[in-house]
């Protein structure tokens, strides 16, 4: 679960990290009064879950009430990378000396959390990683012990010379670790960590991604959920035990298993079609789940045909078949469908489908090919 900047900053604050004391606004006048309370100049920042908002004009430094009103009304109407901006964060403007990068995520190769820092912070940190990797420092954290002061100091000495800044930065790193660990985050990032002209360090931006698998340990995080439309759909899917990501194609896919789902999409593409989505119905599938999955697919108006690809293991083919029959029965105008069923209880599943007049193929490539054909036919039909 990705948090917006103002939420991440609120969590940072809980862990003692230095963040500007900003205010959130959803309306222009709210932003203006926030600016007046904080004292001008302020920075008005679009709250969206996408990167690159600065380049998109979603961050504005304003010096007067008029400028603030103008900036807020402009930003609150924007859409950045498909995300409509519903909130702005109004932060007091800071006098910045230089910008650093500090982040913690999981290093999959080492299977441990890793602290990353750079004296070249700011928007283009990824470019720094690509072109001058030697300017980024890594420190693997042993999760049994956490990030220790001496380790943080060792990293901080690579960024700063002054004793005060080293100790302040080491403290920030340890607190960032405590935040990452305490929140069960997948990512906790400060970019930039700004060295102000008065010598103090402040987290000007904040990014936190929470581990969805750990949310059950943090019931209070539920209120941090501010889903976009797209996320709302993915979430709804998740509640049903489904994993769904919408794409732009015309062949709807319903598959059990993430790997097989990706392979199915790749196969559709390989055969000249376009997959409409990633949809993993997961392990032990009940008929209800299949009904829900089918309804989810049908909400996407781009879908012209559906390819159901199930290899039964923990998923039982008869469950899937029953769900399909039920789903189709409850739908007024079901889309053209191709079903490929094989594996556990395959025979029973095929029997159920055939009883309702749905034919099933056992070959994945053949199934994909037919689904693409149906989509193309449906598209030309739809265009007529």
């Amino acid at each position: 679960m990705k948090l917006e900047e103002f939420q991440a900053k609120a969590l940072f604050r809980q862990y003692g990290l230095p963040v500007p004391e900003g205010l959130v606004a959803t309306r222009v006048e709210e932003a203006v009064s926030a600016a007046e309370r904080l004292g001008l100049p302020v920075v008005v920042k679009a709250q969206v879950k996408a990167g690159g908002r600065g380049k998109a004009g979603g961050v504005k430094l304003v010096r007067t009430v008029e400028e603030c009103r103008e900036a807020a009304s402009g930003i609150l109407g924007m859409t950045i990378k498909g995300y409509p901006v519903e909130r702005v964060l109004v932060d007091p403007a800071q006098s910045i000396g230089s910008e650093f990068y500090v982040g913690i995520t999981t290093d999959r190769r080492k299977r441990r959390p890793v602290l990353m820092t750079s004296a070249s912070g700011g928007v283009d940190i990824e470019e720094v990683a690509r072109s001058t990797p030697e300017r980024i420092f890594f420190h693997t954290i042993d999760p049994r012990y956490g990030l220790r002061s001496f380790e943080a100091r060792g990293m901080a000495f690579r960024l700063f010379d002054s004793k005060e800044q080293v100790l302040a930065c080491a403290r920030i790193m340890v607190d960032l670790w405590r935040c990452f660990d305490g929140c069960d985050a997948s990512l906790a990032e400060i970019n930039p960590l700004a060295l102000l002209t008065d010598g103090s360090l402040v987290a000007l931006d904040a990014k936190i991604v929470l581990d969805d698998n750990a949310l059950y340990r943090h019931p209070d995080f539920e209120e941090l959920r501010l889903p976009t439309d797209e996320e709302r759909k993915e979430q709804e899917a998740k509640r049903m035990g489904l994993s769904y990501v919408r794409l732009d194609g015309s062949v709807g896919c319903m598959v059990n298993g993430a790997g097989l789902a990706m392979a199915t999409m790749d196969l559709i593409k390989h055969l000249g079609g376009t997959p409409a989505n990633f949809l993993d119905i997961g392990g032990s599938s009940s008929p209800e789940k299949v009904v829900g999955a089918m309804k989810l697919l049908m909400r996407d108006s781009n879908v012209r045909s559906v390819f159901v690809n199930v290899f039964g293991g923990i998923t039982r083919c008869d469950d899937v078949a029953r769900g399909l029959v039920e789903a189709l029965g409850s739908m007024g105008d079901p889309p053209p469908m191709v079903v490929r069923l094989t594996g556990t209880n395959e025979r029973e599943g095929v029997r159920i489908l055939s009883e309702t007049g749905i034919s099933a193929t056992s070959d994945m490539t053949e199934g994909a090919r037919r689904a693409i054909g149906l989509a193309e036919a449906g598209a030309s039909g739809g265009a007529s």
Binding site: R111, L187, E189, V245, V255, G259, I314, T344
Partner: protein, 289 residues
Amino acid sequence: MSILIDDRTRLLVQGLGRDGAFHAKLMKEYGTRVVAGVHPGRGGSMYEGFPVFDTAAEAVEKTGADCSVLFVPASAAGDAILEAAHAGIELVVAITEGIPVSEMSRVVAEIETMDVRLVGPNCPGLISPGKAKVGIMPGDIFDRGGVGVVSRSGTLTYEVVRSLSKAGMGQSTAVGMGGDPVGGMKFVDYLELFEEDPDTEAVVLVGEIGGSDEEDASRFVAESMSKPVAGFIVGRTAPPGKRMGHAGAIISGGSGTAEAKVAALEAAGIPVADVIDELPDLLRKRTGG
């Protein structure tokens, strides 16, 4: 021979809830020597002919179990892995999905100091056809043979195996290693075992986007493997931007995309199939069969 499990494996099933009970039965029917179950509070009872214990320690002591398979809920799975490891189990297979990464990274840091191997979590398990099945895969699609299969995915493994079996290529051992960011054994660990196993003649590696495990495997194959390997990578059409902020990009460097993985495999001399059904032919060309 085979890797990790065979007909001498003495299996303990941890968690006999709905899924655990169902698959314990199927594993036994497949011929696996299921010697014990662990389900706190059900100690002293029997299930499908094997004794059930309250703790893994007691199960190991009384039955000599050396391998365990986990069907416990995500919130208790890390604890169960450690319980098995501390009880002296040598191979733990964690089927459970949804374990927090922070939990797994602590578990992994601890078991690295112990004499235990972990398959998974979030995986279908593994099978040495005709000998033992430790997991949830449908046993009947597997044939005994000389191809080692290792995959990050579940159902995709079945698809690959089915294709191999159809082409007359049986498997020595097939492993679904699981796709979580932090887990147990990696491609390289399995490849090492397959290279040493006299019954394995060739290996199929099934990878997916994310991480750098396939890149590491490519290096290992180029440097240390004599047996032929063929690959398959899924996720070419996966939407971009489903990664985590800058940090994910920095730590992964250029790796992680399907293109990068295919390139790494090919650079190591590993032919990569475009569709699954090409795999048998690719292997045949490499083995000269």
